[in-house]
Structure formats: C-alpha cells, structure tokens
C-alpha cells in the first residue's frame, strides 16, 4: 500500500537577480566562458574527479554540456546558448559572453526592466538592420569563385580552438581538407531545390594529423581479423551492386518481444524461431540478388555464415550515424522488419572495394552519384581528436550556412568594436520621434546604449588573455591589441601591428584610442571599398548567420533574465 505524503509548498524567490548566490554563480559562469574565448583562450579540464575521462576543451558546446548548473537563472542562460549552438554550431562562446556582459551592464544602470528591454530591443534591431544592409562596414561578401575567403573562414574557426593541438602546417592542411570535403557534397547540377550531400567523419585516433584525408564515397573500417575472409562482390551488372540496409538488429535476439511476461512451453525455443526467420530473410536476400548487406547493429553469426556461403558480403555494426548517409548515397530504404521485404527498399552501389589508408583497412562504398564523402580524421590522442572533430563539424556547418547567405563578418574583435562605434554614433543622433515611440528619455536611451556598447566591447576584450591592452581606431572602429604598460606619451602607431581581423596594417592617420574610454562618436568607415580586401591572405572571419543569431539570442536572453521577478520552484 502506498502512503500519501502531503505536498511540500513551492519555493518562491522574488527578484532573483538581486540575490548574492545568483550573481555569484553568474559571475563564475561568465568567468569560465570569457577565459575560453579566442585563439589564445585558456582551456578547461572537464572530468568527474573519479578517474573518468578527462576532456580538455574551450568549446562552448562541451563546456555547457559538461557543466551542470542548478540555478534556474543559469539554466535559462545555458539553455538559450545550447539551443543557438544546436542550430548554428558556431559563436556559442560569443553568445554566452555577450549575454553575461549584458546582464552585468544592464543591472548596473538599475532601470525599470521594461525600459531596458524596450531600448535594448531597439538597439538590437538597429544592429541587425545595419549588419544586413549594404552599407554595413564590417562584412564581406563571400566569393565562391575563389577559395581564399572560404579558407579564411575555416582557418579562423580552427585557430580559435587551441585544444586541437595543431601547428600551422597542420591547421592549413585540415582547413583545406574540410573545404575539399564540403565541395564534394555540393551537387553538380543546380535545380530549384538544392540538397547538400553529407560529409562523414571517420575516426582514426592516435595517428598524426597529416595522415588525415578526404575520399568521395563512404569508408567503413574493416576489423583487422575479418580481412582474411573477403571475397569479390556479387554484381547485378558491371556497374551495379544491389544492397540492403538494415536499421534493426539482426542478432537473433528477441528485442521486439514487448514488455509483458512471456511464457514459453518447454521444448520450444524462441531463439531457434527467430534464427529461422533470419535465415528465411537471408534466403530472400540471396534470391533477390543482393550483393551487400549492411546492418546498423549486429548480424547473427549463422546468418552471416549463410550469406557468405552464397557470396553475399555483410557489414555489420556500422552505427546509427552511418545509416542516413548510406541511405542517401545508395537510395536504399533502411529496413526495420524481418519479414515482408519489398524489392523497392534495395539500393544500389557502383562499386565496392577494400582499401588501405593510414595502416587501416576500409570498405570503400562508391555510389553512382557522389554526394557523400568521408573525412578520415586523425589526431594524436583521444581528447585532441574529440576537439578537432567538433571543430570540423562546426566548420562544415558554417560553410553550409555561408552558401545559403554568402556573407562573412570580420573576426578578431573587429565586428564588435565596429558595431559599438556604429551604435554610439547612431544613438547620439537619435530623432525624438523614435524616443517617443519607445517611450523613454534621451538620457535613458543613451545610458542603455552605452551599456550595450560596453558589452559588445567587452566581448572583443575577452580575446586578450595575456594582459595586453586593447585600442580602437577612430576611422574604421577596428580592434587593435598592444602590449600593456606603454608610456602615456608614446605614439600609438609605434605599438600597433595589425587590426584583429588582419585587414588593416598600421597606418599613421588612424587616430587610436583605448577601447571603452569615452570618445566623440564617429561614423565608422566601411572596409568593403578597400580594393585589396579579397586579396589579403589570412583574414580572420566569422560566420555571418551564426553571429547575427548569437547577437539576437544574447540580447533576448539577457532581457528575459532581467525581467525575471519571481522564481517558483517545485520542492516535491
């Protein structure tokens, strides 16, 4: 008999942001994400303290996935960022840092949250309008005729994650491979509905990075000890191999038996019954002239033996991640039943070979229409491999986003400082009509705008981890770093080298000032009228789509957090 307990009352906290524990937790989280940002960002060891796997990373997805925050305010923040990452892969740290800074800076001005929300929404839309307009001075259009910009984009993503442990040669090698793999997934003929192919990452750990490679088609590793029993594949015609793809287990167990108790009479073996069913399935496959059977899970040894005796090649335990590309590449429908196979579910391959890369053996599945490719990704150890794999996936995703919207933003802090200069100028010349529409005073607007710009600049400053000082120029509004402790009377141009994104070199007339120091608002000049933009090597670029979304998510989330007046927690 169950006992009924009285329900505990819910716990209600008002004005959660004013509580010490919340602001403390928020500042710890903010400290973690800030210290990870950029190519010289510091790494974090994530582990359970009990001998579990140690992950060394500076990636937002790994950090936020590994951190288990309990406070609802922090949960709200991490959930928004995670959601952004799941949609865009890139700019996770940017979003998290900006959101934390906005909360900190908005809290400091201590206005009614509805006023802050209204003004910051307006500021956000000014930013987005500017970024999306032709006049935007911190974006480049990506030219798909040359690989230079694309390569810069990929290289910037790789360089921002030092835990991959790549040196310069390796970084540019991997960048080229990622780009090559991406190009292999673009269809040759463009119709109205363009569907990009897939790049499958084949893990090869403990090897040198330079042994990585890209191949069209799919590569599936063959366990060393299966090599002895390989035979030529059975073909329907010289260039067609019929193939069946199973996404259920063919191991002969009773996984689909259901939940309730099953009672069997002695002498009846369910196992034998299932095996008979499997062998019948095998018979049908042989009759249908299938040459290759691929299974996501395990194939029963007896079925394997039967198929082998009839010259059918079996590949099992390929894993869930392979099913989609396999089905896409061969046109086969993943089969989820042991009986009533329809002949339409079979797919076809052009060729099946065995090949030897990085001293491992692979099945090489070659489709008729190549839209699937395999990136054999090597790195020296498990954790560096994990980090690199994630970066490669991010880069591939960024390239996909860029092909949809062929724009890139200047990286290395330049977009943030440029945008801040733009907003400063814009807010100083605001018409009264707009103020009326938002229902706030000029001073209120100015204060919120300042906090907004400080937050943007704060993100840029987080790129510096070695006590350098950040300057900005009063012409383009770009980001410049210098060694700290310079004498007050020195000439700035002796100290600076290049701006953060690498587009501008040291020029005498740039009129530098220390970032976040009050200065007269100016209209930041655009970089796009610079003729040599696309000729410059090694630009630092960011994904346009991901950064715009990150900006939006950060502002919206910060507004939401500021707006929290009560937290009601169920104590049961």
């Amino acid at each position: 008999m169950s006992r009924i307990e009285a329900k505990k009352p819910s716990l209600c906290t008002d004005k959660p942001l004013t509580k010490d524990v919340v602001s403390f937790s928020l500042s710890v989280l903010s400290g973690i994400v800030k210290s990870c940002y950029g190519p010289t960002g510091r790494l974090k060891q994530l582990h359970n303290g009990m001998g579990g796997y140690v992950r060394i990373t500076s990636q937002s997805s790994a950090l936020l996935g590994g951190l288990s925050v309990t406070h609802p305010v922090l949960n709200l923040l991490t959930a928004s960022v995670k959601n952004h990452i799941s949609r865009f892969s890139d700019c996770g740290l940017f979003t998290a840092i900006l959101c934390c800074s906005l909360v900190e800076n908005f809290q400091r001005i201590n206005f009614e949250s509805s006023t802050v929300t209204k003004i910051s929404r307006h500021l956000l839309s000014s930013c987005i309008d500017y970024l999306k307009s032709e006049a935007c001075g911190c974006r480049l259009s990506v030219d798909f005729d040359s690989i230079k910009t694309l390569l810069s984009l990929v290289r910037s993503i790789l360089a921002s994650k030092p835990a991959c442990m790549l040196n310069k040669t390796e970084a540019s090698y991997i960048s080229t491979l990622i780009l090559k793999a991406f190009l292999l997934t673009i269809p040759h003929s463009v119709e109205t509905n363009v569907v990009l192919g897939k790049c499958v990452i084949v893990p090869v750990k403990d090897k040198r990075v330079m042994e990585s490679a890209v191949y069209p088609g799919l590569l599936i590793e063959i366990p060393v000890f299966q090599l002895a029993s390989i035979f030529p594949v059975k073909r329907v015609s010289s260039s067609t191999i019929k193939m069946a793809l199973f996404c259920i287990s063919l191991s002969g167990d009773l996984s689909n038996i259901g939940d309730g108790p099953v009672i069997v009479h002695h002498g009846i073996s369910l196992e034998v019954a299932v095996l008979d069913q499997l062998l019948n399935l095998g018979k049908q496959l042989v009759n249908d002239q299938v040459g290759l059977v691929v299974c996501q899970k395990v194939i029963h040894p007896s079925l394997k033996q039967y198929l082998k005796e009839h010259r059918v090649i079996t590949i099992d335990r390929v894993g869930l991640s392979m099913v989609e590309p396999l089905s896409q590449m061969t046109g086969s429908q993943p089969i989820a039943a042991l009986h009533s196979l329809s002949p339409t579910c079979y797919g076809s391959l052009k060729d099946l070979r065995t090949e030897n890369f990085v001293s491992k053996h692979f099945w090489h599945l070659i489709p008729n229409d190549i839209l699937v490719c395999s990136l054999i990704l090597c790195n020296r150890n498990e954790m560096a491999w994990d980090e690199l794999k994630h970066v490669c996936q991010t880069a591939e995703h960024v390239l996909q986003l860029t092909i949809k919207q062929p724009l890139a933003l200047l990286g290395g802090g330049c977009t943030e400082t440029h945008l801040a200069s733009y907003i400063k100028h814009k807010s100083s010349t605001l018409s009264t009509g707009i103020l009326k529409a938002i229902d706030c005073s000029q001073t209120q607007y100015q204060l919120v705008a300042d906090a907004f710009c400080r937050s943007l600049e704060c993100v840029a400053c987080c790129l510096e981890h070695d006590d350098g000082e950040i300057l900005t120029d009063m012409v383009y509004g770009h980001f410049w770093s210098v060694q700290s402790g310079f004498p007050s009377d020195c000439n700035w141009s002796d100290l600076v080298l290049k701006c953060g994104c690498g587009i501008y070199n040291n020029q005498r007339n740039l009129n530098w000032t220390v970032l976040q120091r009050q200065c007269i608002p100016f209209i930041p000049q655009s970089c796009s009228n610079r003729p040599s933009v696309n000729a410059t090597d090694h630009l630092v670029l960011d994904c346009f789509t991901a950064k715009c979304s990150g900006l939006q998510v950060a502002v919206e989330t910060a507004n939401l957090i500021l707006d929290l007046s009560y937290i009601v927690e169920d104590q049961n």
Binding site: T40, L43, H47, G49, P162, K168, T169, V264, H265, G502
Partner: protein
Amino acid sequence: EIMAFRNVNRRRHIGLQQLSSLASIGRTLLGPVKSYKFIVDVSTSESALTCSAVRLLESLDLTSAVGQLLNETIQAQNKEYKTGMTTLLFLVGAWSNAVLECLQQNVPLSLVVSVMSEGLNSCSEKVKCLQLSVHDLYKGPKSVPIHFSSRSLGSQITENIPVSKEECFPESLHSHQASPCDPHDRCLNSHLCISDNITPSLVEPVGNKTMPAVLGSSLIASNFNKRTKLTHSRYFNTPEKSHCPLQTDNFGSAPIRPGACPYEFNDFGQLAMALSHGNQSSMKLVQDIFRCQQQIAERKGSSQFNIAEVVTCCLPGLSENYSCVCPGYITLVSPEKATVTKQLRDRPLQILLIDGDLREKYRHLGFNRPSNVSTISESVALQESSSESIWINCALDILIQSKVNLILVKGNVCENLMERCILNNILIINPVTDTVLHAFEKGIGVQLVTYLSQVNSHYVGSGVWVDFWKTLELDNKVPVSIKAEGIHLVTAVLCSTVTSKMQVTEDQFWTCAYRLYHALTDQKVFPGGGAVELLCLSHLQKLEEQSLKQADKYPSGELHMSSCWLTKSLTQYKSVVLKALASGWHQYLSRVMYNTASYESEFEASTFIDHHLKKATDCSSPSSYILKEFNKGIKVMDDVDLSIKQEEALKIYDNVTSKVEAWRRALDLVLLVLQTDAEIITGPKRNQLLNSHTSSEFTFV
C-alpha cells in the same frame, strides 16, 4: 549534478608542477642501462618489477586529471609505436620545468605555446637531414642469410628447428656459465639480469626521489642506483654467443670496420643490433623471427616483417638460454591435456576454430537476452540442470561426427564439456588470441565459427600437427606446439629464470620487434647515440641567434595570431623560450649519459655535451659534423672510453617516426596543461570535495 570549479593557473602553475613531479619518477628508466623499480602495493603486499614507463604508469593509481592525461599520452604512444615512451615521459618532465621557468620570467603564456610548438616543428624538419635510408644500410631480404635447409616441406623443417637447437644447449649453457668473469658478458647481462650485479633492496624514498604527493597511491619506489660501469652497452657484439643454428649466420664472423666505410653495412644483423639498444638477446630472437618469415616468404613471395603474426610464449623459471623462435604456435597445457596430446601426436589432425566461448549460455556480442521470457514444463524431470547436459551431448555428437581432434577456442570452455572431450581424445586449447585464431584461419583456409551448430565439413580444417615442445614441465604445465603447413605464425619462446622478470623480458622482446618493424616500414633510421638531439640543440641555438638579429623586424605569419601584439613582442621573449625548449633535450642527453654510468654526475655529462655542441655550432654545417662524428663512432650519448677498439664499436640507430612523435606528444601534453586554467569537476565527487580539507581551493556553483 553539481559542479565544482578550481582555478588551476595560479602564479605557479599547479598542473605543470604535478606533471613535472609525475614525470620525474621515470628518470632512471632512460637509456640502455635501466634501474629497475619495485612497485609495492602496501594493502595487498603485491609487488611488481618494472623498468618501462608504460608499466610504471599502469601500476600507479593516477586519479588526478593531469596524471590521467599523462597516462593516456603514454598509452597512446605505446599503442601506436611500442617505443619512445620513456623518452616521452622524460621530456614531459623536462619541458614542464622549462615552461615553469618561462612563466617565472613573465613570458606571456600564449607566446610560450606558439614559440615552443613552432620551435619543435622546425627541429623536426631539421633533423630530417640526418635520416639514413634503410635501403642503404641493408639491401633487402636477399641479404638476409638463411641457414635453414631449403627443402620445401614445411612441417619437416619446422620440426627440425627446435630439435637442432636443443642439441646446442649444453654447449651454450656451458659457455654462458663459464663467462661471468668475461667483462663483455657481464656488461651484457648487467641490465638484463639483476640477480647478478644489482641487488634489489627496498629503499625508503629520500630527498628528491620522494614520490609526489599528487599520486596519492600506495607506491613506494626505490632507485637501485648501484652504478655498474658499462663499457659499451648498445653496440656490444658477441659472436661467441651464437648458440643456435638459426643464429649462426655470418653475423659477427666477417670483420667490419665501421669507421672506414660508413654505409657498407649490408648485413641485416648489423641493422638489427644497432636497433637493439642493449637488448641483444631479445633482438637476436627478433632477427630469427624475421629470418623464419623470410624463409616462409620465399615460397609465398612477400618479404615484409609481418609483426602481426608473431606471438610469445612465456616460460618463467627456465634459463634464458632456452629462449628461441619456433614456427607455429606454442602454448602451455595442463597434464590432462598433455595426455591427449600424447595420443594425438604423429598424425594429422582435424581442427575447429571457435570465435567465442564454448558454453551453453554463451551468446555472440550484440545478442540481448530477454528478461521477461520464462519457460514452463509439464514434467519435473526436465530441469534447468539437464539442459546443459543435453547441450554437452549435442556438442560432443557434432565434434565426433565431424571427426574433430583439436579445437582452438577464443574464450572460456564449459568444464564438463572439457572433461568429456579429454575422455574422447579431443584436445581443446583456450583461451587463444585473435592473432593465433586468424593465423590458422588464413593458413589452412578454414573459417571460424561462433556456435557448434554452425559446424559442417567446410568449417573443419585438416593437416594440423600437435606435439610436445621439448620434454619440459613447468608449474605442472607442459608446452605443446601446434603446426600446420601454410601457417605463417611464429612463436617466440621467452624464458627467464627470475619469474618476476618475465613481464620485463616480454616487454623488451616486443620493444625490439617493433623497433625493427618501424625501421623497415619507415625505410629510414636516425643515427642514435644522441646525434639527433645534438642537432636539435645546435639548430635551436641558430634560431636563437637569428631571433636576436631580427630584433628590429618581426617575422610575419610566424604565429597563429599574426595580428596580435604578441607578434610584435616576439623578439623580446623568443630566445628565452627557445632556450627552454633546448633545455629539455639537454637534460635528456645528460641524463642518458649519466645513466649509462660513464659520468660521475649529470653536470659532467652536461659539460661534455656543451663541448660537442660548440664544435657542431662552429661548423658551417652542424649536421655533417654530427654525421661525421657518428660515423667515427663517437657518441655523445656514450662514453668515449678509449679502451674500446674502434672495430668493436657498432652503430646505434633509432626509429625516426616514433622518436619525433614522442617529442611532439610530450610537448603537446605540456602545452595543453599549460593552457589549462581551470578544472571543472562535475558529478557526485563535488560533495566529497566540499567536505575535504582542500575545499578552499574550489569554487562551488
């Protein structure tokens, strides 16, 4: 559930300090003369003897994150190359200290990372000019002298080998026992056989040898640093020790003058010995394996060193003189099985290969047993216990019907079935490794089965022979050999009188095997004896000078962050960081020299290195100076004892890829830890930390 957060990167980097103290335990393992370590588990009083970095780290209880990272790095190198782990461990320690030094001098952390990694990269490129082509050193398998009789019937030849070797035993045993006063032999054995020269004793840790507190394990390590004077450890040649027909080749009999003609070592034996790094006896076995494979290859047409078809069989308690190489599979069996063996010898057998367990309840991987199925039966007699006997009867029927005499099983075998098989003169060998199973699969062209129900005539192989391997009995077990024509498998029988040294002996054998294997797959070797490290030192000196000369202009594109102020201030710090990188190799060289007992102190060794380094740097081409010195037989790493005649001095070679990779992995680990500024601990451990005395170090969120 909840997380704890610790800021690692205080003024003095905790992680690097941990790394440095962990790595320091491996210092005495460097070089050809190793001091053994006893690892004692205080709670169980179990102890292990070790002299390899891998085994040492395996035995430690490394719960700290840094300890785990170190272990993972060493294991990854071991998995991939099987050599270079001690070098890796040492350099991790040396470079951690060097980096800590840089931090003390306020070098920006990001600069340490990029200059060190570019510096190593540059050195790895530079040392390529020292690579020697294996092809030049050894003209392919044709030059491998084969002293088998070349009659082509495999089973006869294979049976000849152990027998004829046995005939040689008395002589070789005699020669060995007679030689302890022979200085050469003593040297050879000094690091192979501790019972002779080094008396292990448990020493309480003292001074800087104190175990780092971070280990938190029950470890007492002791350094048996009783220094044995070693005259010429690595390139010691013992022609009088060839005691086996496999080993009597022209190795050693044709006098070679290395000083005169540097590249005329076309003898395979010379290459192998140069790679043995003091483990001559192990390398001799490896050479025999290679020859054995060449002999098989003559019929099959491949000429590679096939390390995948080599297995070892350890016979602890037997004299090392019994160590030898035999074609086929050799393993120990129980006396009951020996009785079956007696019945089965002298006739061809039918074999079955089982890829799993031989038990009623065994199911293949991926088979999930349903938990909700229950069986009901009408009669009480049919109980669970009888189902096994039904299965056994059925299994036995299958075996008898298919006339199987011999079964190799990968996993466990049901006790009752085993007994019934013995009664029926069916020999079951288990557990057997994948290597062995698949060698038989390939060799006799029969496929593996998982269940006996799969067996039909296609799955039973024939033409297999079983016999006793010598007439020995060890710990109530008898070695038997299983052979078949077409089998490429070669077993290295390893013996050691000191049982606790068995593991060490086996490890040393594999190290030698992999060194030779890598040399043949890389097709190139480095000159050993410190030549490569010396070139790195001289190259780094050059880079340092260049960086000072270029003080006014910055090298563009040298760093990842070419736009950053760090690029501009590069010249200010570059030489400090390059010096730190160099100090790692410098310490490595002096430690090896000190460990080989040629120098009284590491300082003395260090002076010697500086002397050669200056000479090399003064040369217009340091690499050619170093190669010249190498060919003269003067090694930085070894003593230049004038008592050694030039003729006796053999070359030392090192593997190329594994060495360079060990450097890279060591530096990568140090730089990873350096860049880490916080440890995030999630999960239930948090509450323990909250209540522990170290809780002040953590931030709890």
